[in-house]
Symmetry: D2
Amino acid sequence: MTIKHEIAHVAHVELLTPEPEKSLWFFTRVMGLTENGSEGDSVYLRTWDDYEHHTLKLTAHGTSGIRRTGLRASSQEALDRRVKAIEDAGLGVGWRDGDPGLGPTYVFRDPDGHELEIYWESEWYQAPPELAPSLKNQAQAYPALGVCVRRLDHVNFLAADVEPSTDFLRDVLGGHPTEQIRLDDGAIAGRWVTFTNKSYDLVYTRDWTRSHGRLHHIAFATDTREDILRAADIFLDKGVFIETGPHKHAIQQTFFLYVYEPGGNRVELCNPCARLILAPDWKTITWTEAERAKGQAWGLKTIESFHTHGTPPVDS
Amino acid sequence: MTIKHEIAHVAHVELLTPEPEKSLWFFTRVMGLTENGSEGDSVYLRTWDDYEHHTLKLTAHGTSGIRRTGLRASSQEALDRRVKAIEDAGLGVGWRDGDPGLGPTYVFRDPDGHELEIYWESEWYQAPPELAPSLKNQAQAYPALGVCVRRLDHVNFLAADVEPSTDFLRDVLGGHPTEQIRLDDGAIAGRWVTFTNKSYDLVYTRDWTRSHGRLHHIAFATDTREDILRAADIFLDKGVFIETGPHKHAIQQTFFLYVYEPGGNRVELCNPCARLILAPDWKTITWTEAERAKGQAWGLKTIESFHTHGTPPVDS
Amino acid sequence: MTIKHEIAHVAHVELLTPEPEKSLWFFTRVMGLTENGSEGDSVYLRTWDDYEHHTLKLTAHGTSGIRRTGLRASSQEALDRRVKAIEDAGLGVGWRDGDPGLGPTYVFRDPDGHELEIYWESEWYQAPPELAPSLKNQAQAYPALGVCVRRLDHVNFLAADVEPSTDFLRDVLGGHPTEQIRLDDGAIAGRWVTFTNKSYDLVYTRDWTRSHGRLHHIAFATDTREDILRAADIFLDKGVFIETGPHKHAIQQTFFLYVYEPGGNRVELCNPCARLILAPDWKTITWTEAERAKGQAWGLKTIESFHTHGTPPVDS
Amino acid sequence: MTIKHEIAHVAHVELLTPEPEKSLWFFTRVMGLTENGSEGDSVYLRTWDDYEHHTLKLTAHGTSGIRRTGLRASSQEALDRRVKAIEDAGLGVGWRDGDPGLGPTYVFRDPDGHELEIYWESEWYQAPPELAPSLKNQAQAYPALGVCVRRLDHVNFLAADVEPSTDFLRDVLGGHPTEQIRLDDGAIAGRWVTFTNKSYDLVYTRDWTRSHGRLHHIAFATDTREDILRAADIFLDKGVFIETGPHKHAIQQTFFLYVYEPGGNRVELCNPCARLILAPDWKTITWTEAERAKGQAWGLKTIESFHTHGTPPVDS
């Protein structure tokens, strides 16, 4: 039987940075996230539309990369069922106390080795007076500083092999692959998986180094494409390295812009316009090697560093 | 136990018009929908992002209003469960052959008397060569004519009493009320209900005439707010009556523009920016009479005709 | 003979505020202007696209209103010719030392009594390192704070009688009236005058109190209409009073949003899309009282306070 | 003495196409221009914001390229003065009857050999009822078909040597060079010249084939950047070749998209946001070879075909 709707959404990520002060500057002053506490080597940051305690846990570390990705279950029962399924799959790590604002959380790994957690209990964020929004259906006032991204949109992992991890998402967590790239030799070079009506929430693309547990990028959604054009000017004037874009992906049709934050991690700004996957029987779209070679939607060639830059860096 | 995810999405509506030629001109030449067959007094029309046969069935009739609203079930099993629940609620009408492209469909009424249908089988649209899109993850080429709305977004019914119909949506169909207006006397004047990650799919607002089965408006989503600003110019030059907007609703924060199509039905263009309801435990936001009196998000007073114009017209 | 191109552009204004700290907060933290020095009761502020020393001189004062509006001549010869013409018209006040960054300036009054100045010498702004732009064809880095208006766009004066002052603009300064409102009794209720390819630079509308020298509003241009929609959210969350908009004027077709800064002065955000007046023989468009009664382009009624709120306030 | 403001604006171009039917389809159905008569092998086309008879004269021809570029003088006296100056420069061809809607026109050549004309008399366009705009300050209703470009923005000629032709523009016609590229060997590889407050109206870039009289591209302005993003989707679905973009030029900061019309001529869509040159003493910005090698504003590499594709094609 198909598992569906057990994961409510991708909720937060822990990002590692060897340049914690500069990365903090990037996420707060350039991207417009708001600090919401700190603990040890970590600072908790939130986008203005996040109803939970934090969106990003930024942790000082010897190198870059992603540590833990948090998925919120859609209910206590869904959490219990998924934990059992993960344990049955032999990929569980165990229950932990959640970070601030989060209840008990179950830590596990995908087949490639990325660390994830799943939890149900979550305190809804209450903005302090100086951050209180004017409209009661909004978590926090619009920061009006920097890019002002709305929310974490998706995480794109690198994996030595895409299929085991995306099969795990589908079979154990109930993800649905909406699009994928199949190379001429049959291998899956990338797969986009959704838990929601967004067209994707987690993406796996093949790690050219055959390393495990690495990150291609994390992505934040903006309200408009104009926000991304405006962001490009901000990045330019702030000295943030723009890797490629703005342009529109052929795959998933996302309007995108990629930069590297000062710690070296690739960060995407993305906007899907009003595109959603509402069809309950959406068939996975498969792009061939030839189709992918055409580049992005409007003809931009896919940048070479997409296939050479991941975090943490490894000898390749 | 909470019912969830049994309805995949609001799929199509049948709209009645006493001015069929002018209404057809409006939907095809001004809004940019594409004809996909006709039958008797009805023409089938589709938005370019619709994966199904049609989005709108436009039917010549003695007066205006909405006839049938189609909901797609999320599976055959969900359909069977919902039909049983509807029958248990005593609101079923019965199985019918579906319109072109649709399998067997179960017709029923909400407590206020609006006709709805629920179905599972649906043929995916195959664009003829002249309408074929360049990107394979898109249903149809972008029409580049008129407003070019992307999809049907929601339906806003009028009801003599809001609560019975929205309770029915919640208890029998699994809808979740995300926002509502509660008057000082305790009555619910409006309630916004979602089946998806969109913040609403069906809305009920109170009919000031206490009539049954009427329509406040149907709404189409555009890709951007700029599309709505551009649409306002198009409506102006095409002589389409603009009722109010563009502006941003406080409730649901939707950017909106309302017009009357030539048959008299109110049609909304809407764009939510990137707003989605991802929280599985979203608590219904309640707006008071005083809050609602403040008008729209940026201060526009709610237009009086919102409380006097519904279709079909009735003596009030 | 027609005088043309003697005034290069409207360059800066001195605005008076009884709430200097709050007004400064508004212009720097909400609108995104940058401080560039202060002197006595005045602070000099600049928009990021201004090539001169300052765009706005904000002066603490007992009440609100506009003090002096600066026009830059298009050459030293044009300055000399205009000063002579102003003196011939009997409206000269005399030569003064310019404010910081400006050379000798000739102060004069329009027939209604507003103070203006005209000058030629102007030091080009050199951004300090922390404000240096990445592109050398730009005056200052994009501030990425608040609304980030690009430039002063126009000034709209109130005048007891519109015609004498706008005739003066035309006959003495070489302004061209592009649009006007003529009431049924023949009186000109408003006139839009340009010195450039912008469709207007200075506007006079009739003061309902028949006072002299008052201000209807000053306007700043944004890069896009989306910037104005975004600004509306910023104003909402910052508690800035939104008077009307966003919407599109029928006259001049400007996309607009009006707010009151904390000192009480009305401030407009405006965006003309790509509209310019390139025709050298543009005939003044005259709107009748009936046409003006239709409201704004997309049907918004002109707000009543447009005819009751000016600065400084007077007993009316 | 500096000549200024003698040319009001670049008014129209005659474009040659070996594929007249396909080019006509491109300009009317894809770009959204409107036919306004035809004559022999030529069709007259207009953008909706043009106050004159036509914007583009599209002429069937054995090959592609640009024939004549029309400049409107700012008065009869300016026309007489400029004709005399052109004759003095030895570059006059002679007076001709103007095309439909235009009075007597003086034809001449720039030093590189491109044909131009200058004229004063011009009939203002009167829209027929079916194309009448709703707002009286607009030339024609918004077409709501295809891209809907607003106006001709600029022409970019290729020239064997840039300096003679741009010096001619400056010395004989009163153009002002706002930006230029100077190679390490001192040669000017490109120069952007304005007659208005637009930052450029005519551009010359060096022809790598050292041919004379060729075209790099003609450019049309859109109202918004979103119009260009939307246009990219339209081009994609209509099968129009997209050469590069959308992106932002470093030089002049224009947001751009380049396509080839079916006759082979390069066509740009451009939008400058609200950027204007208001400074009467704007100093020409000079970009070095190293600066130009950095590519476009947000890092896109300048496409190689910018230096290999011009019209008509020549053996190089």
